[in-house]
Assembly symmetry: C2
Homo-oligomer: 117 residues x 2
Amino acid sequence: MAAEQQQSEARREQGQAGAGNEQRQRSRREDNVIFVGKKPTMSYVLAVITQISGGAKEIHLKARGRSISRAVDVAEVVRRRFVTDMKHTVMIDTEEVTDEKGNKLNVSTIDVKMFKQ
Amino acid sequence: MAAEQQQSEARREQGQAGAGNEQRQRSRREDNVIFVGKKPTMSYVLAVITQISGGAKEIHLKARGRSISRAVDVAEVVRRRFVTDMKHTVMIDTEEVTDEKGNKLNVSTIDVKMFKQ
């Protein structure tokens, strides 16, 4: 999976060869990640659509804990109402976070990859 | 995907050939689905482990709306603490439900398939 992602990034960089320096390419890559939190679902839907209109071919929606269901909502609203030719794959994982008292907690995470084929 | 599932069901039925009638086989198939709702996460973890101990090779965790994040928690707790050789694939979708006033609402759903390879 990591190798596949690197490949697709390499392809994108070839496509814009000479268009910018490394820092610009890095910021463009990170732009493809949208962290879903406690704002209304439609804020994130708008963020996704803005990125797609800007030419992004692949977007990652990431969320943790109780926001996971909102990330799924965002992906589904985008796919059903706005960009119907989008596919998605979903990965789930666990992250360790430290709270203000220094206790370690495990929190579930989701990563919804949305892409056009 | 559906064909694959049918195949694995066919294999399971061969394995218990003559063990029961069709109704019994049907209830065994539906046993592989655990609907995650508002109970504590560990109740569902226990349900998954019970099924695995009973010989189930594949389990579907299904949830809707706000319970989606709990379904992810269940899958991650099972995979990390109890049955570490389990893989999962995640699918998300939308269902239409009708509330008590007759309004139609779209609600997101998740289906986490857990299986041993």
